[in-house]
């Protein structure tokens, strides 16, 4: 019997697979294609206090092995989420990770208060990394002090595990993982999307209405794996890895690099039935490598010098 459970702070997940925020609506949209209770967690679309319209179309464009998005965090706001979506998610027995975004420090704190009082929230993911909105969010995520302040302020008002979601659009992402840990974060998740752009050369127009957007998908996976590896070595708290995972092999790669759990986003767009395939693939791998607990796979990267191996053989 293989044990797929993993521990994120005080929260135990049934398995390491989490639906990534911004790629899974509010979860309920996918109730017809996946049993939400079979997922380790569901990170719902980023919420502000108020409803938001988001950017005008075009909001996405496909790029080689990836996609750019500039949705602009269209959303129903936290109050409607608690009223309209959370009861359904509870009924579906989903482990709900709510992704929250603020224009100000106070907004993060208020969101955390509201969601800590709501029934059915398992953890808070702090969106300090959305590349597509001007105000707040990433301004915290691109400053070590800002990151520290948001995490520590939210920690003061909630009993829920707090997981800042880090941006890769910084020079040294591990420093942000350390700032998060010092501020009391229970885990960090990374990476959010890479700031990018695409131009229609015939019209010379940007392909997104927002001009720039966030790159996701298999194209970013090797960079994301490297960043997860760096963060794992920098902090003791769990690292939740993501960025272009499209197969069980990719999820396993992140876990070997140091991810305790992984999030899957873009691949769910391509195949909304991917989840049991990923779980089966992870199980098969663990069986083949005679690993009883998936948690034992985390951070097992072997960096023994290849040169040494060559000499000793």
């Amino acid at each position: 019997m293989i044990d797929l459970s993993v521990q994120i702070g005080s929260l135990q997940l049934a398995n390491p697979l989490i639906a990534a925020s911004g790629c899974f609506g509010y979860g309920v949209e996918y109730a017809g294609t996946v049993d939400l209770s079979s997922l380790g967690g569901v990170a719902v679309k980023g919420l502000f206090l108020a409803e938001r319209e988001g950017h005008p179309p075009e909001r996405i464009v496909e790029t080689p092995a990836g996609m750019l998005n500039a949705i602009g965090l269209q959303g129903i706001g936290v109050h409607r989420f608690v009223r309209e979506k959370l009861p359904e998610l509870r009924d579906l027995r989903a482990t709900v990770i709510v992704n929250i975004c603020g224009s100000t420090l106070d907004e993060y704190v208020e969101l955390a208060r509201i969601l800590s009082d709501a029934d059915g929230v398992a953890a808070l993911e702090l969106n300090i990394s959305c590349p597509n909105i001007k105000e707040g969010g990433i301004t915290f995520g691109c400053s070590l002090h800002g990151t520290f302040d948001v995490v520590s302020s939210v920690k003061k008002v909630t009993h829920l595990p707090v997981i800042p979601k880090l941006t890769p659009n910084v020079t040294d992402v591990a420093a942000f993982a350390r700032a998060s840990e010092e501020a009391g974060a229970d885990a960090v998740s990374l990476v959010n999307t890479f700031l990018a752009m695409a131009i229609d050369v015939e019209t010379r127009r940007p392909q997104l209405s927002n001009i720039v957007g966030g790159l996701s998908g298999p194209a970013i996976r090797p960079i994301a794996v490297r960043m997860v590896y760096e963060c794992r070595r920098a902090v003791k708290i769990p690292v939740i890895g993501m960025g272009g995972i499209a197969s069980a092999r990719d999820a396993i790669e992140f876990m070997i690099a140091g991810a305790t759990a992984v999030q899957v986003g873009t691949a769910n767009f391509v195949d909304p039935f991917i989840w049991p395939k990923l779980l089966d693939g992870i199980r098969e791998y663990l069986r083949r490598h005679e690993i009883a607990r998936v948690a034992d796979l985390v951070g097992t990267i072997d960096t023994t010098s290849r040169e040494k191996q060559w000499i000793s053989s």
């Binding site: 911004g22 790629c23 899974f24 609506g25 949209e29 996918y30 017809g32 294609t33 679309k45 319209e53 988001g54 179309p57 075009e58 909001r59 996405i60 464009v61 496909e62 080689p64 092995a65 990836g66 996609m67 998005n69 949705i71 269209q74 998908g217 298999p218 194209a219 499209a246 873009t266 769910n268 767009f269 391509v270 195949d271 909304p272 039935f273």
Partner: protein, 280 residues
């Protein structure tokens, strides 16, 4: 609930140097599809193309009383449509569906007028079969750039559909936009109804259903509204997932309070009441 089928290509018929009709063995999807619903399609397993693309279901294929699959009308414009154009019998195309909100079908004595622009013909073959089964009288207003891009005309004629054709170059049918004969016929139908005194001004004797380029849909919605007819339009947006997850395919819709808000066309549409859309 949608299903994902690794569908075998039954046949692929090229209609021109750009257009093709591809038949896919996805009977479970075909049997559940209502007119106006769509599938998300991905030919090949690699990362180019990465995302699926949306296609309205064109026809439901039946043989010996059994549903054997569906067809898609495609115009070659990008990577996916090029692969669909080049596909051969036996190839596998991943097909997810049926998805989205269908056209509401009218019953006799109400008439259905269908308006198609170019590849916007896509929802109207399956629609014609569904309306014929109800005995609803149908007219297809069908426009394209040139006569060589008007397809399936005999197919529609054989099913008793009255055809009104228009081409931009005047090679077949009326020269100009298809919305011009639509406006003229709607006006004269209204005058005839007034003379006869038989039909109400409420417009529930006629529904105009449209699919095509945005400006055409806007014109259809405006013309129908001006003549008191209901319109339903199937919009085409860039879609990432088709299931409401990505929020990329939004379209502005009136919110009933004088404002507007973005609705995901994959689950709120792709068929909308023409009067509820905000045209930019």
């Amino acid at each position: 609930m949608p299903v994902d089928v690794e569908a075998r290509v039954i046949r692929n018929t090229r209609l021109s140097s750009d257009y093709n009709v591809i038949a896919l063995a996805a009977p479970e999807i075909a049997a559940a599809t209502a007119p106006g619903q769509f599938v998300m399609v991905k030919p090949g397993r690699g990362h180019d193309p990465l995302l699926r693309r949306p296609f309205s279901v064109f026809e439901v294929l039946r043989a010996n009383g059994r549903v054997e699959g569906l067809t898609l009308l495609s115009k070659r414009v990008g990577v996916t449509t090029a692969m669909l154009f080049d596909a051969v019998e036996g190839d596998i195309v991943s097909c997810l569906g049926p998805l989205g909100r269908a056209f509401a079908l009218v019953d006799p004595p109400e008439e259905a007028w269908m308006v198609a622009g170019g590849v916007g013909l896509a929802p109207f073959a399956i629609m014609t079969d569904a309306l014929a089964a109800r005995g609803t009288r149908t007219t297809l207003f069908y426009g394209a750039r040139t006569g060589g891009e008007l397809f399936y005309l005999d197919w529609f004629r054989a099913r008793g559909v009255r055809l009104v054709l228009a081409t931009e170059d005047g090679s077949v049918g009326e020269r100009g936009r298809v919305t011009e004969p639509l406006e003229r016929e709607l006006r004269s139908a209204r005058q005839a109804a007034r003379v006869a005194g038989g039909l109400q001004a409420s417009g529930n004797d006629l529904t105009v259903d449209a699919c095509g380029p945005g400006p055409m849909l806007e014109a259809v919605a405006r013309i129908a509204a001006a003549r008191g007819a209901r319109s339903q339009v199937s919009v085409v947006r860039v879609m990432g997932c088709g299931l409401g997850g990505c929020y990329s395919c939004v379209i502005p819709v009136r919110d009933g309070r004088g404002g507007r808000h973005y609705v995901r066309s994959c689950i709120g549409g792709p068929v909308f009441d023409g009067a509820e859309l905000v045209w930019d």
